[in-house]
Symmetry: C2
Subunit: 428 residues, 2 copies
Amino acid sequence: HEASMSSWVEYAADTDFPIQNIPFGVFQTGPADAPRCATAIGDFVVDLAALQAAGCFNGPVLKGSSCFSETSLNAFMAMGRPAWREARETLQKLFSAAEPALRDNAELRAKAVLPKASVTMVLPARIGDYTDFYASREHATNVGKLFRPDGNPLLPNWLHLPVGYHGRSSSVVVTGTPLRRPRGQTKADDAPAPSFTACRLLDFELEMGFFVGPGNALGDPITIGEAENHIFGMVLLNDWSARDLQKWEYVPLGPFGAKNFGSTISPWVVTMDALEEFRVDGPAQVDPAPLPYLANKKPCAYNVSLEVAIQTPTSPEPHVVTRSNLRYMYWSLTQMLTHHSITGCNMQPGDLLGTGTISGPEEGSYGSLLEITWRGTKPISFPSGDERKFIQDNDIVHMRGFCQGNGYRIGFGECVGQILPAHPLERI
Amino acid sequence: HEASMSSWVEYAADTDFPIQNIPFGVFQTGPADAPRCATAIGDFVVDLAALQAAGCFNGPVLKGSSCFSETSLNAFMAMGRPAWREARETLQKLFSAAEPALRDNAELRAKAVLPKASVTMVLPARIGDYTDFYASREHATNVGKLFRPDGNPLLPNWLHLPVGYHGRSSSVVVTGTPLRRPRGQTKADDAPAPSFTACRLLDFELEMGFFVGPGNALGDPITIGEAENHIFGMVLLNDWSARDLQKWEYVPLGPFGAKNFGSTISPWVVTMDALEEFRVDGPAQVDPAPLPYLANKKPCAYNVSLEVAIQTPTSPEPHVVTRSNLRYMYWSLTQMLTHHSITGCNMQPGDLLGTGTISGPEEGSYGSLLEITWRGTKPISFPSGDERKFIQDNDIVHMRGFCQGNGYRIGFGECVGQILPAHPLERI
Ligand SMILES: [Ca+2]
Ligand SMILES: [Ca+2]
Ligand SMILES: [Mg+2]
Ligand SMILES: [Mg+2]
Ligand code: NI
């Protein structure tokens, strides 16, 4: 039935936001204006606080709630899947071609249905904690070869648990936020001591992130069977990485400054309900099979096409540098969430979990420049003649993602970020 | 002048909270009651919201503010050192022996000066992000010997930068909160595969934590010269650690589940102003000298005596298992904060930074059971006959800390936590 839905809102056939999608986000109309919750349809941003105030959400779960007047989606995320489903179905009905309630209410439409150019998207949630995993086998293998050329590229624990690390939540930013090239310590293999420099090996990491819905009490893990009801939806995630800082600092406690200068996400959270029909089998987990606490009972991967394009000051047309797919991930979202909480760690509504870099099996599908250029040994050539080993000042990285349905796309919008030059040393 | 201060509040000579201290915390009188800010003097908790409402804070910085009615200290932390100093001086004057304003106002005293047994302390701040460092040279050396017996115990980067990792903020709990023994994956060296078990090697880590006051904008580091004005104060921190989980999971991205099941802090934040007269030289940093961005211009260690005692079900009297001192830390608080933000990472009011385990040079001064029992090879004997290699179910770990002044102590109160048995497997 999804394919047959049509809307009175006009949009292009390849829009990221057809009536089948109904993502959730937060916007404001100006810096002094209180942020409020929204959905997207075609090129419009729809003010859900206005619709809620007008009584449009009168199903059994949302009736009486003012969750969409909050400045973040945290309260809505905390309400759980029945609320998310009811909201999405209510909106699909409201936007459907034959439904006059909003279509023929010019006053409410003027108030609630806003051209996207008239609003600014902000972070969809207050992110209490951000965790990044490392769940693509191809990525972990490539990085192992590059960082530890003398050892087994895949470490002994990797096939037994989704390896992850706690990240920095304060520096997660929404698409469009420029980031400054970080400074830090690097040490050349043949140098006697480290030096303090601007990062020379700045990279993107093509990832997706998912937001936690209802959390768990400290001490009470989320089981693998329960996990999907705790996952609200997904965004694109660029986990910017300073490879030279990372190489020097990461032993033995993991990446730190190399990752904490900024992580960029797309503004619209696409719900797991919208992704449901793109659920597919992930890579087989048979040798070894996961321990029972991590054993999924059904397919838990999703077929999401991903691509990264780079725009340089002298190549203003974004040039696609890789195409990958979420389905390549070895570990599923449910396995990441369960493993994260299995110690009793309390997950909270609005927590963000990143998948780790999503690399596919072939060269054209690697998810970072480290892999694409094989640590700079195979530079990328641009049609303009530009070459890139790593990100240079003022380059802009664009990430896109979508699921191809039958006659429509479930898209994620854009995750875009520009790297500004490092501050001059006098400022530090 | 500090030594000569005396108060109309009666307290023991060795109280943690004489008039010279004036720590800040947050309390409630019942679970339905809104938390509000407080200080401690002797055995009393003083409601600062009540004092503020009564007009007691009328200095140039705090006049008109209602910062102490907030449910956390974040707003007060954000106001910066002039506000912290003015508040502390105002309270020292209000409590001083010759000052009648509060002493002789029975009504306000009854409202604001509460016996500590009548209130419950809660977390002093909304902790946006929690980071843990690894700044004791003796600890890093001991752990290196135990975890990497074949290599150089101190890794090449350790003397050049304060190694740290992002921790889990959601599971930071206040003293008195019981924690459940975590489950997770462990693998014996000779086992072919990991198993899913309750942690067998549960440890404490004797640390201190410090709270960030005013933060920095993303992209703009806090310089070493500015750092001390961004540090509000300190607490005791028990960074509980599951050593068997840690050993299996920590390569290559650092500790994760081994650390995220709970970290316990003491409830009272002792300000850097109260600690100022205990400032001392830290370990010499000469070979190598730190890079200029990390070079302190003055002594930046603090002489804080620390001890840990364990209470077992059959040894109800807490038995001291180690005595250490904050001054052993190789890296200073200012160096940790500057290094954390040097990439541009934005620090926020209420962020918590842990020092890492504070081990001294001698055996009796090690800050974890891993080191004290040398990975279980030298069990601790209790006067009762109990033995411990690691923490057993229902054990209670007590941490204390204080600075010895001339005739008074600046104390930190208690950081106490009990480990409950793991959930039975059926519950997971
Ligand atoms: Ca990042
Ligand atoms: Ca911990
Ligand atoms: Mg990553
Ligand atoms: Mg620690
Ligand atoms: Ni956080």
